[in-house]
């Protein structure tokens, strides 16, 4: 299947700083997380795709059409910026309806769509209030609603959980997941938070210093390892000793015992050691690669010239 969004050799400098260095990538249907630290070039790439800034070289295509040559392409793309973009004196319903019209929808259809999408993002009676009175979470929902108002094929979300507390973050990630799965709208979402991308995306593209470091399915990034993590409420030292007696080396890492190169026999040894030591076990699980490790591993590969 051809990609929805395609970039070819995108390069962009801001003065002496190279923001993008020959970025070529394909974004297919589904939810794609664009992951990278601050300054990695994520927002720059999104702004180039949307035509907000021009690249020094390279091109972007949405459904096979150059996004810079035809503004009409943007009829089918939605954008939720990271920064504030809501006028405080206007109500959400009026704002989203207006944005739908600026995307080309007739006024009556735009009003209906505004009511629908605001309901989908969880704003009910509040939508008639001026947006200056909204909490950060409500503002993020309006920002998502305006991106959905014209029923785009794809939305580009720039740090959608920015400024949200843990509960708000989880709600926003659930909403993004629903938008991608139930609404059938493809999503390209940037984030510097690995957990956010891991929880909401199907695919991940890692951007670092303006280059694509790695891309692939989320599961490929966070596959299980042969390392075990053991968490106990009390009796860590006793358990460590009991494990040592059975020839299993465990190291203490942030309150958890870590056992490398575990096999079936290791599980049996841990079971017996827990019984012997009387430690109160509450978690025994294989460790997954964290995305932090992905960065570290790729940094090492780059340094080693691999």
């Amino acid at each position: 299947m051809p990609p929805l969004l395609l970039t070819k050799d995108l390069t962009k400098h801001f003065g002496a700083t190279r923001a993008l260095d020959g970025v070529s990538l394909e974004v297919h249907q589904g939810i794609t997380g664009l992951l990278g630290a601050n300054g990695a070039g994520k927002s720059t790439m999104i702004k180039i795709v949307l035509g907000l800034i021009d690249p020094d070289s390279g091109s972007t295509e949405f459904m096979g059409v150059d996004t810079r040559s035809s503004p009409l392409v943007r009829e089918r793309i939605g954008y939720m910026p990271e920064h504030d973009c809501l006028p405080p004196k206007v109500s959400a319903t009026e704002f989203v309806s207006h944005m739908a019209q600026v995307s080309g929808l007739p006024p009556s259809e735009a009003r209906t769509r505004a009511a629908d999408v605001l309901r989908h993002v969880g704003l009910d009676e509040e939508r008639y209030r001026s947006m200056g009175t909204y909490s950060t979470g409500m503002k993020q929902r309006v920002k998502l609603a305006q991106a959905l108002a014209h029923d785009p094929l794809m939305i580009l979300l720039d740090e959608p959980t920015s400024g949200l507390d843990p509960a708000g973050r989880q709600e926003m990630l659930d909403l993004i997941r629903r938008t991608g799965t139930e609404f059938g709208i493809s999503i390209l979402m940037t984030s510097h938070l690995m957990g956010d991308v891991e929880r909401s995306s199907d695919r991940i593209i890692v951007l670092d210093a303006g280059k694509v470091l790695r891309e692939g399915e989320v599961s490929g990034f966070t596959q299980e390892t042969e390392t075990l993590i053991i968490n106990v409420v009390e009796g860590t030292e006793e358990l460590s000793g009991a494990l040592a007696k059975r020839g299993v080396t465990a190291t203490l890492e942030r309150g958890a015992l870590i056992v490398e190169d575990a096999d079936t026999a290791t599980y049996d040894a841990i079971r017996d050691a827990v019984v012997e030591s009387g430690a109160l076990l509450y978690r025994l699980a294989p460790r997954r690669h964290s995305l932090n490790e992905v960065f570290d591993a790729d940094d090492e590969n780059l340094e080693n010239g691999q």
């Binding site: 907000l52 954008y79 944005m99 007739p106």
Partner: protein
């Protein structure tokens, strides 16, 4: 009514989930039109707070007050006596002389409201990712405020013209004698509104704060006028060319020229020169405005 019938009347609400949109998509044309009407609504404070509406309508009231006052007086007096050939009151040719300053204040106070909040609150980045170009945005906003300004300057003139016509014993004869007033005040009003609109938009494109834009617009015209006068005295013979930059002086002279009156002898120039000066001023302001928005996009 039985219980069964009552139960049948209750409806059930179904959440149909997210509905895809299969209706019309009208593209750039709809986008531009929407920006235009949003600009018109903003100019009148519609959809905004009470203070925005109050400010807009107060200034419009000040601009229209003499015409309304004249019409009310005419209607009142005509109840008691025959006014014969109509009342002598505010003449169309004089109206813009009065309306220039309140219209400039209207442009300085209301005009920036069409542009500065979009940049201050980041809304412009949402506009520019939709199927329009930055020029579509800038021109739509400018056109919206131009149309509002034209409505504001034409309304009292039309009121004056038709109320004066209706107060005449021989309406047809008066209209035949005075019909030229109509295209004249339309033309002069256009020059005035285009000037105030374009200058207000150009200055507003340099700031994200409305009070700063308001102050800068008024300073450009009023302080600019004083500076030009002083510079023209100091510049000797070349000074008369500098006076063409004084919009407060030149605009009433253009109005006189359009109405076929003596432009006055402030310097050696004739009406067309003043007209060309105002047009040049307006075009330069327009070019600066468009350049600013092209630059903002980049």
């Amino acid at each position: 009514m039985t219980q069964g019938n009552q139960a049948q009347r209750y409806g059930e609400v179904f959440d149909l989930g997210y509905q895809q949109y299969a209706g019309a998509r009208e593209g750039r044309w709809r986008a531009r039109r929407s920006l235009f009407w949003d600009g018109v609504r903003t100019s009148f404070g519609l959809g905004r707070g009470a203070f925005s509406k109050f400010l807009s309508f107060l200034l419009i009231g000040i601009i229209s007050a003499p015409a309304i006052f004249f019409v009310v007086i005419t209607a009142f007096i005509s109840q008691f006596e025959d006014t014969g050939g109509g009342l002598d009151g505010f003449r169309s040719v004089d109206y813009y002389g009065y309306a220039y300053f309140p219209l400039l204040i209207f442009a300085a106070v209301v005009g920036p409201e069409l542009l500065t909040p979009d940049r201050r609150y980041g809304v412009i980045s949402l506009y520019l990712v939709r199927p329009i170009t930055v020029l579509d945005y800038a021109v739509s906003r400018w056109a919206a405020f131009l149309v509002v300004s034209l409505a504001v300057v034409y309304a009292p003139q039309l009121l004056l013209f038709f109320s004066t016509a209706l107060s005449q014993q021989d309406i047809v004869q008066w209209t035949q004698d005075n019909w030229l007033t109509l295209p004249r005040f339309l033309a002069s009003g256009f020059v005035l509104a285009a000037f105030t609109t374009t200058v207000a938009m150009a200055v507003s494109s340099f700031t994200t704060r409305r009070p700063v834009a308001t102050g800068a617009i008024l300073a450009l015209v009023f302080v600019g006028s004083i500076v030009v006068e002083l510079a023209s005295v100091a510049a000797g013979e070349f000074g008369q060319w500098l006076t063409l930059l004084d919009s407060a002086m030149v605009l009433p002279l253009v109005n006189n020229w359009i109405f076929g009156l003596d432009v006055g002898r402030v310097n050696d120039f004739d009406g067309p020169v003043y007209f060309a000066a105002v047009m040049a001023y307006t075009f330069v302001a327009g070019a600066v405005y468009l350049w600013r928005y092209r630059k903002l996009k980049a």
